[in-house]
Amino acid sequence: MTALTDFTIAEARDALESGAVSARDLAEAHIAAMEAARNLNAFITETPDRALADADASDARRAKGEALGALDGIPLAIKDLFCTEGVMTTAASHILEGFVPPYESTVSGNLRAAGSVMLGKTNLDEFAMGSSNETSYFGNVENPWRRDGDNRPLVPGGSSGGAAAAVSGRLCLGATGTDTGGSIRQPAAFCGIVGMKPTYGRCSRWGVVAFASSLDQAGPMTRTVRDAAILLGGMAGFDPKDSTSTDMAVPDFEAALDGGVKGLRVGIPAEYAVDGMNPEIAALWDQGKAWLEDAGAELVDISLPHTKYALPAYYIIAPAEASSNLARYDGVRYGHREDGADLTELYENTRAAGFGTEVRRRILIGTYVLSAGYYDAYYLKAQKVRALIARDFTQAYEKCDVILTPTTPGPAFAAGEKSDDPIAMYLNDVLTVPASLAGLPAISVPAGLSGDGLPLGLHMIGRAFDEETLFRASQALEDAAGFDARPAQR
């Protein structure tokens, strides 16, 4: 039999249904894996007791014939950006160290209500600001993959780096991530797993520690496209507590997987073929086009003319929203506090001690672009460019049904390799940010290996609220790629 930690969610569901395994078996196997892989630093908080209690409750339901569905008894990891009632939630920041939410985020609550088993809270870049998981107050996360013949640790990507490492390293069957500019898709590509950012509004943001509210969106991180469809089904849904949650029924995403891509029009944006593109990435993209064409899809050349302006627009909009959202950390109501002679000094000391350097940098940029005299030149300008980027996609979808691009400009890099140059780090998200600005669903599927043995991802972008077509196309891509490489540590 397959090792319990090698199951997909779909396989575990079937094994639970047939009685071949119990939720407790699955939980114990994953707790052991989680404890054996502490060198990866994928978790900030492990919750083994909670996992066993969840698993026993699941087994008891099942014994009474009252199993709740596909996720009942499935061991999952929750990114430490989702507030979990009674379980410390830090956003990987010193300023929230020790914070124990008195409420549950809607997404983690949905997964709990679906009977899933929580193994723990995964590490991330501080406040989800980073592309390498090197900005966490709780230390770097290591990628379970290594370059061939080279044992130096690599970054898992970010910000959902702990989630990606945990899924890739077989420490959980699936994980929740959040994506603001690529924080699900880029680490998924770096760790050889599937990562999906649904349409803005599909998953509730309520109870998710806010970074940039017009961009933040929760999504699934799994080892297969089918598992992503199953997990998203458990996370998504209308929530009156989130004013931008969309009041739409959640489709049966899994049922959409087997439609095939015959006749599907796959857009290939000219602007993503940038000068100096890594030749391995260019070759993988060509391979992806050929795979989809062989499966019956039609390739269509499209243009997204404002692509090169997406990243600079993002680096105005996201820090601006962050500077506003993070104003709440005042050292008074919750979180870390440093005393001061007066109230202003208390704020200033608390925030100086509580925020790391990348978070401080982004708050300062955001404050600058929103400050009197600069608002129109920077923030308003970026919002106008954002409108043009969204319009590019609307026009492209007159000619195609999904868009295929690479996920990242290159494979995982070594720790420290890019941390001295903020802009070099920001460029990691150059291919994922445009879909974020437009609020569109997008997915990264592991599709091949670099010359030195590291996973590479292909990225597909769908129409708003058309996750079903995106899943269908991703399934075809996954079938063609037949990606079965495994990380060095698992």
Binding site: S214, S243, D330, I363, T367, Q383, A387
Partner: protein, 95 residues
């Protein structure tokens, strides 16, 4: 536009973050680089373009203005670093 030392001091003050003297020059350099880089947006003709203020094309929902919970003072202050008598506390602001 280059961000100078005084601008960093002003912005840090607005953001209520104390920045050590020794970090000011480094931050001025970093912020200048980032601001210089985002200024490539000036190349884009945005005349007549409305700023995108909402991702989804939706009207904000209305709800009844009514009390739906309350009486949970201890839960509200449970994470406060220095709660006193069931209240948040701050340094004295009125002499």
């Amino acid at each position: 536009m280059a961000v100078d030392r005084d601008t960093v001091i002003r912005v840090a003050r607005l953001a209520r973050i104390k920045v050590p003297e020794g970090d000011l020059d480094t931050l001025a350099g970093e912020l200048s680089n980032i601001i210089g880089w985002v200024e490539q947006l000036d190349e884009v003709d945005t005349a007549g373009v409305d700023p995108m203020t909402s991702v989804a094309d939706m009207k904000l929902r209305w709800r009844a203005d009514e009390v739906t919970d309350g009486g949970i003072r201890d839960r509200v202050t449970a994470n406060a670093p220095d709660p006193q008598h069931g209240m948040f506390s701050v340094p004295k602001v009125i002499e």
